[in-house]
């Protein structure tokens, strides 16, 4: 019997290799994915946000003001423009993200302690840029406000120490935990690559049952009286093994070559990935048992796989989704996986925390495989 199982596995491997489309997708898809995303996020952090200054005053005070913007962390002054209209166009075209407009007579008004206004414009159409730009600008404005306020009070004759004490001198020390450098590559590259990987695996898994029952050679298997459970279990083992080999390759590239940090042990992550792979394969198998042909089976599987990354809350948090949707997103195994992956790779919260994730994925697999078995048996009656 073991020899037969080996035979089935060998044939399945050959089948996957000989299906050129599947071969390309499984072997190349995830690898191309991680390389592409690593290249896209090669800049890794949001720094040097393109900033432009329109200095309509060109006084010492305005240059001082411009200097403060130049020294602001994460902002990079890339141009000095001549007018508001130029600034507006640059922002509209997306060349500039932060614009600073220093009005005419700025220096005079500052010297005379008259009210003057500096316009700081942030292009908020891309919130990744905008949130970071906003934080940088807020830091500048707080310090600037205090500085100029103190000067104004001094000019009004207030005692220097008293003037200084009017402003609370707060030194805000920031710490980004788990990803201290706020590295976008660490946050997204591997997750996106795994997203591509799980989509490719879904396509492959969706051929599990229909790939056998939808071809004429199914008659041979039926005529031989061979156990179908044995057949599909053997096929599934090969599928899952191939999926895991690709995951291993991705992890090697991510952790070994790109040096993406990993908080937990690699063995823990691999075990978690294995459990997810089984759950993922079970969905494909279920779809494969429901569909009447391989195209529909692929479509059904991808209907789950395609939106799953958005639904998983890996980027836009689950807690920010409407209350009624929050429990619903936990119905798909990808949510458990990507949430668990985030915890394991950044926080390593321990077995007690992660146990529920493992159990959920195992339960999912059991349910889907059972349903697939029942549906296939019913269809083959």
């Amino acid at each position: 019997m073991f020899k037969t199982n080996l035979m089935i596995m060998r044939r399945e491997l050959g089948y996957m290799w000989r299906d050129r489309g599947l071969r390309n997708i499984l072997l190349l898809g995830p690898l191309l994915g991680i390389l592409l995303f690593a290249a896209i996020y090669s800049a890794q952090t949001i720094t040097n946000i393109p900033t432009a200054i329109v200095d309509l005053d060109r006084s010492a005070s305005s240059r001082d003001m411009a200097g403060k913007m130049e020294n602001a962390p994460n902002l990079k002054v890339v141009s000095y423009l001549q007018s508001y209209e130029e600034l507006e166009e640059s922002i509209q075209q997306g060349i500039i993200v932060v614009g600073v407009l220093i009005p005419e007579n700025f220096g005079r008004d500052v010297a005379l302690h008259r009210h003057t206004r500096v316009l700081l414009i942030i292009d908020a159409s891309n919130t990744i840029f905008a949130t970071n730009a906003s934080t940088a600008v807020l830091g500048v404005t707080r310090t600037l406000s205090a500085e100029i306020g103190v000067r104004t009070l001094l000019a009004q004759g207030m005692d220097p120490i008293k003037a200084k004490n009017m402003y609370v001198s707060l030194d805000l020390k920031e710490e980004g935990w788990f990803n201290p450098t706020l590295n976008y590559a660490y946050f997204l590259v591997l997750a996106l690559a795994l997203n591509i990987w799980q989509q490719c695996c879904s396509i492959a898994a969706s051929i599990n049952i229909i790939g056998e029952t939808g071809v004429k050679s199914w008659l041979q298997i039926k005529a031989a009286g061979f156990s179908k459970i044995q057949l599909f279990v053997s096929k599934s083992i090969i599928h899952i093994t191939v999926f895991m080999v690709m995951a291993l390759l991705i992890y090697f590239i991510a952790f070994g070559i790109f040096k993406i940090p990993l908080a937990c042990k690699l063995s823990t992550l691999l075990l978690f990935t294995l459990v997810f792979t089984v759950a993922l394969h079970s969905i494909g198998t279920l779809m494969s048992s429901i569909a009447g042909n391989a195209v529909d089976s692929t479509r059904f599987s991808m209907m789950v796989a395609l939106p799953s990354f958005v639904l998983s809350g890996y980027t836009w948090p689950i807690e920010a989704m409407p209350g009624f949707l929050q429990p619903v997103v936990w119905v798909i195994p990808q949510t458990w996986f990507f949430q668990g992956f985030n915890y394991l790779s950044f926080k390593n919260p321990g077995w007690q925390f992660m146990a529920s994730y493992f159990w959920a994925l195992i339960a999912f697999a059991l349910i889907c495989y059972s349903l697939a078995t029942v549906i296939t048996a019913w269809k083959e009656r």
């Binding site: 020899k3 037969t4 035979m7 089935i8 044939r11 050959g14 089948y15 000989r18 299906d19 071809v215 004429k216 050679s217 199914w218 008659l219 041979q220 298997i221 039926k222 005529a223 031989a224 009286g225 061979f226 009656r381």
Partner: protein
């Protein structure tokens, strides 16, 4: 031909929703005989043969193969072989891989593979993909796969239809020792030529099976054909 009944069907009914395909078919196939099932396209031959091979379910009746009620046990499949009308070998495998794989499914060994290769003279085609095979070689391969587990019951559908004469000759040649060794062959066909190779033949029409001696069946067939001729037809 002996008196031992290897395959028995009683009052077999096969319905598909509202359509009745087999309407109370009964038959007995004895050891050493080649039982023919003659029927035109759509008569239900393939359905009947697939039921006897245990690959299709049926609505009512009983079928016993090698003494086993096929609804209760699958063990009979260890001693049966099936050749289908539609190509049903593994298209992702070549000839030797098909033999290898199906042998594994049937628990046959390497010696059995070599035996059937020799029987069906497949030596020159072993590395060819099955999709590239001529019809005759494909059919020889199909029969070879069916014979891997040294079956006692052989169910074949359109065994020699539209294939080259050499393959036809080889296939028929191998049927004889099979029958002489006590096996039974149930053979579905729509071409009257196959009649000479059968011992008894049933005509399946409108879901009913009526048995004839081959000569009687041929006479009936000729009468029916002639009944459509009009005066003045060549």
């Amino acid at each position: 031909m002996s008196e031992q009944v290897l395959v028995e069907a009683k009052d077999l009914v096969q319905k598909f929703f509202f359509k009745t395909i087999l309407n109370g078919v009964s038959l007995q196939a004895y050891a050493g005989e080649c039982l023919g099932i003659f029927g035109l396209r759509g008569s239900g031959k393939t359905s009947l043969l697939h039921i006897l091979a245990g690959v299709d379910r049926f609505s009512s009746g009983t079928v016993k193969v090698l003494g086993d009620d096929i609804k209760k046990s699958q063990l009979f499949k260890q001693r049966t072989g099936l050749v289908t009308q539609e190509p049903s070998l593994f298209q992702d495998l070549n000839v030797i891989e098909n033999l290898d794989y199906i042998a594994a499914l049937k628990n046959a060994g390497h010696a059995d593979i070599e035996r059937v290769i020799a029987l069906m003279e497949l030596h020159d085609s072993l590395r060819h993909p099955v999709t590239a095979l001529d019809a005759g070689i494909y059919q020889r391969l199909s029969l070879a796969c069916a014979l891997l587990n040294s079956p006692q019951v052989l169910v074949v559908d359109e065994l020699i239809k539209d294939i080259d004469l050499f393959s036809r000759h080889l296939i028929i040649k191998q049927l004889k020792p099979f029958l002489q060794s006590g096996g039974t062959c149930i053979c579905g066909f729509s071409n009257i030529e196959m009649l000479i190779h059968t011992d008894r033949t049933g005509w399946l029409d409108n879901g009913r099976l009526e048995f004839y001696k081959p000569s009687d069946l041929r006479e009936k067939w000729t009468t029916m054909l002639n009944s459509f001729q009009e005066p003045g037809d060549a």
